[in-house]
Every structure is written in structure tokens, then in C-alpha cells.
């Protein structure tokens, strides 16, 4: 799609396999519900895409309260993947999502590889889903709750199993809670993923000094929001240099400048997460500001910004001195 801005025609769209996205801003999983909650305040058709809350095979109640706490420039959450389950998603939410003029990405979470496959197979039978994003930051019940996403072989195996079951674009959402995220990106690339999303939340913690208790019921939780942006940017940079498949940048993006930084660091597109809680229209504002940046800089195709940072050669994330 071409957008008129400042007298210039700016190309904001991009493709992922067969799917055309009208702009490079998606809303992140777990931060926009199932896409139907915000319609009275936000014109979702102006988003590049909607990533659903993680869907599991059965509905999940989620963790006990407190599930969230604000921290400096961010927040911790331990929602526990509370969701309505894939069946109710298909019957109650998908009919609405089929009517919107934006890409719909179903995010899948599970506690066994079979469950990932089962959820995907149910969604394969449904129209109106453009791509899958796989949340591998989930405890594997077979391995004593060890997170799938922190095991490279497990992450690759999930990718391989799902790849064999779908021709829709398959995006693996990586966790930053590993030493080298690029190794995971390479492993899923080899296993057939079409793209990676970088990143999920960082493990964090907050204490109440009066009671000496952790604030969250689960002790630790996932950190998100502006506070994580520099970390996310470095992870995107590291990943984009390691793989040929596209990287979708996520972490602390609240405005157009933030988003452009992610494109320059190598992201093909970005997702807006926590910022939606502060402003449900954040995604649209980010998209508008990105376009305004291009107009101001005389950039005709936003895609030309991807990976276009001016970095000193030879210095990489992995080998630079800190």
C-alpha cells in the first residue's frame, strides 16, 4: 500500500510469504486481547496486523493475583497465559477477525509439543488466519516445567513439527532469557521457520520491602515496556545478523522513533506491546510517526531502512568488550 504523506508516496507495506501487511506495525500478543476489545476506541484496520493472545488447547484460568506490577519505565507480568482456549477463539473471536482489514496472526502456546500441533491443526481448518506466531516461552510439563524456549533442540523440534503441518507463515517468538538468542534463531531457521519475533519478556522480579514478600504471586514475572527497549534492540541486531529469515522486533516500542530504530537494527516489522495499555491507539500512532519520519527523510520505501544502520564493521554483539 502507498500512503500519501508530505506530498510523497511512501511505501509502508511488506510481505511475509503470501501475506501482504499494509504497514510494519503489529500489536503484540497478550497486549491487545483478541482484537475485538478495543474497536470502540481504535480503528484496527489501520494496523499492519493483530497478534492474538496466546491460544492453548483448553481454556486457561491464569495465575492468582497480583499478576502485574509497575516498575521503573516498565511492568512485570505473570498472567499465566490466561486465555479462552482455541475452540472458543474459533467460535467467538475469529468471526470478527475475519471482517477486519488487517493481517491476523494467531499466537499459540502449549505445554507439550503435541499440544502445539493440536492447536495449530484446529486453526488450519479455519479461514481468516494469515500466519502463526509460536510462543515458546512456556513450561514443558514433560521436562519438569523447563521452558521450551530456553532449550535450543526443543525450540527446533516444535518448529519442525509445526512446519510439517502448515503452509501458512510460521513465526517463532524467541525468548531473550538465553545466552545467545542468535543460536536459537539459526536453529529455527534450519527447522523451517519463516520468521522470528524478538523478543518475549525478560525475567524480572519486584519485592515489597515492608512485607518482604515478592509483589507477584509467582515471585518472578516478565518485564516489558520502555525499560527493555535497549535490550530488545541489541537482541534484534544480534539475530538479524545471524539469520536470513525476517526478524520482527518487539520490546518497549512506544513511538515512531523507537520503531525506526528496530528497523535500522534489522527488523522487517515491529510489534507494539505494553504501550497499548497506556494508549490503546499506540500502534496507529507509531505507524503514523514512522511514515512522518520517512516523509521528513525523503524515504520512499520504508523497507530500505531495514538493517540500514551505520555500524562500525567488525564489532558484533557477541564479541565486543563491555
Amino acid at each position: 500500500m502507498h500512503a500519501q504523506s508530505g506530498g510523497n508516496l511512501i511505501r509502508t507495506s511488506f510481505r511475509l510469504g503470501p501475506v501482504e501487511f499494509k504497514n510494519r506495525v503489529l500489536v503484540a500478543s497478550g497486549t491487545f486481547g483478541y482484537g475485538d476489545e478495543c474497536v470502540s476506541a481504535v480503528d484496527v484496520n489501520r494496523l499492519g496486523g493483530i497478534v492474538t493472545k496466546s491460544l492453548s488447547l483448553k481454556p486457561r484460568e491464569g495465575n492468582p493475583p497480583p499478576r502485574i506490577v509497575e516498575t521503573t519505565g516498565g511492568m512485570l507480568n505473570s498472567i499465566g497465559l490466561a486465555n479462552i482456549g482455541v475452540h472458543r477463539f474459533v467460535s467467538e473471536k475469529l468471526p470478527f477477525l475475519r471482517t477486519v482489514d488487517t493481517a491476523v496472526i494467531a499466537n499459540i502456546a502449549a505445554s507439550t509439543i503435541e499440544e502445539y500441533c493440536a492447536v495449530l491443526e484446529i486453526l488450519e481448518g479455519e479461514e481468516g488466519i494469515d500466519a502463526y506466531e509460536i510462543n515458546v516461552s512456556c513450561p514443558n510439563v514433560r521436562e519438569g516445567g523447563l521452558n521450551f524456549g530456553t532449550s535450543c533442540p526443543m525450540t527446533a523440534e516444535i518448529t519442525k513439527q509445526l512446519r510439517g503441518r502448515t503452509r501458512r507463515p510460521l513465526i517463532i517468538k524467541l525468548t531473550p532469557n538465553v545466552t545467545h538468542i542468535s543460536e536459537f534463531a539459526r536453529a529455527v531457521e534450519d527447522a523451517g521457520a519463516d520468521a522470528v519475533s524478538v523478543m518475549n519478556t525478560l525475567i524480572g522480579m519486584a519485592l515489597d520491602v515492608r512485607t518482604r514478600k515478592p509483589v507477584l504471586s509467582t515471585v518472578t514475572g516478565g518485564l516489558s515496556g520502555p525499560a527493555v527497549k535497549p535490550v530488545a534492540l541489541a537482541k534484534v541486531y544480534e539475530t538479524a545478523r545471524a539469520v536470513k529469515i525476517p526478524v520482527i522486533g518487539i520490546g518497549g516500542i512506544t513511538n515512531g522513533r523507537d520503531a525506526i530504530e528496530f528497523l535500522l537494527a534489522g527488523a522487517l516489522a515491529i510489534q507494539v506491546g505494553t504501550a497499548n495499555f497506556v494508549d490503546p491507539a499506540a500502534g496507529i500512532k507509531v505507524a503514523d510517526e514512522m511514515k512522518a519520519y520517512c516523509a521528513e527523510q525523503g524515504i520512499a520505501d520504508m523497507g530500505s531502512l531495514v538493517g540500514a544502520l551505520d555500524a562500525r564493521t567488525g564489532v558484533s554483539v557477541l564479541d565486543s568488550w563491555l
Binding site: 476489545e37 493475583p65 499478576r67 502485574i68 490466561a82 515496556g225 495499555f277 497506556v278
Partner: protein, 255 residues
Amino acid sequence: MLQTSCPVLSLTAVAENVFLLVLDAPEIAPLVRPGQFLNVRIDETSDPLLRRPFSVYRTEGNRLELLFNVVGRGTHALAEKRKGDRLDVLGPLGVPFTLDDPGFTTAVLVAGGLGVAPMPITTRELLLKGKAVRTFLGARNKGSLVTTHLVQVEIATDDGSEGLRGTVVDLLERAFASGVPARPKIFACGPHPMLKAVAAFAVRFDIPCEVSMEGPMGCGIGICQGCPVELTNPAKKYALMCKDGPTFDARTIRW
């Protein structure tokens, strides 16, 4: 739910550490039902990052009034606002109190501390509906009481500087001991332990009771799943405070 930028018309201290904020909100004000809340963006920076929820205290034409306590960074910054400053407001949000329930004739309003905030708008609506209203307020001390726009007010303070020395539940016990009002229904708002005691009181007297809960919220509009309230319903463990509440039938809550 609307999102609008509302100019501050006034900000005044009305009691110890209690402020009345009046906003010009022609779109939102006429839509507000008693018991609903607003999610207010304190400023454009990322500290504090999240919005802060506040009950609607009163509406008057285009005017939207909030009553708040300074407890932390967000409310501290809110207390610094000046006439003409603009606030980004989401609202009205949440499920209002059920006031047109034909099952009651006397509304018993019970508030602890800033739990008084939703009571004036509730009182006005109840009186319009021809209900009798009795109000029971609990506060730390005389200085922190806000009693305007309320009717038939009885008071308890922790230090006894005004009314009964004790809790608002003690006050309620006493009032009911000398006569239960005709076909009552309780509407309560305040800190969790107080609501729990009021809910138990309502069960004991077999009186219908709605409570307005508070607690941390991420979004205020049902998209983050961050505000669970535990229910007694075995089929549905949690409700969302922001979307299914903040008002709940007290019997549905697992206290």
C-alpha cells in the same frame, strides 16, 4: 469507552491529603453510570508508565469530578496539575452498580476512606429513582472525611475524632442492631479487608450487597488479563476487575 483529552477545570484540596479534580469532558461525562471508573494517563512520560484508575465522584453537565488520595508517584503528580493542563482519559469503564433493582427500597451506602468516591454520583441516581438512602462512612480521622453530596450520613473514625470510634462495620452493626432498614441493599466501596467484613455482614443479615473492588490494573479495558478477582463459581475461577467489575455481587467473590 472513549479516549479523550480533557482540560483540568480545577483541582482543590478538600480534606487531609484528599483532592477534588474537575475535568471538562463533554463526551465522557454524560455517559457515566454510578460505580464506573476512568483510567487516567497522568502525563506523557513513561514514569509512571501505566494509567491510574479512579472512580467517578460526580458529573455535572460536561464536568467530570474525581476525588483522590495522594498515595504514590502517580497521585502525587496528579495533585500537581493546574487549571488548563490536559489529561488523557479513557472512560467510562467497568460495570456500574445495579441501582434499578426493584428488590430494594433502601440503599445502604458503606464507604471506607476514599471508598466514598463513587457515593455522591450513586446517591444522586438513587434519589432520582425514589430510593431511600443511608450512608455509613469510615475514615482515619475527622480531617480526612469528605461528606459533601451525601445524605443521611453516619460516621466512624479510627481515632474517634468524629462519630463512633471504630470501623464503619462497627457502625453498621450498631445501626442495624437498633433497626434494620426496609428492604435494604448494600453498596460498598473501600479497602479489601473492609469489603470482606461488609460482605460477611450482608450474609449474616441476608441482605443483597454489591461491592466496588480496587487493586492494580494494567490496562483498565480488559486486554491485559492483569486484574483477576477470585470467584466462588467453580466453573469460572477469575473475573476481570476492570471489565466484569469493579462492582460485583458480594456473594460471587471468594473473600
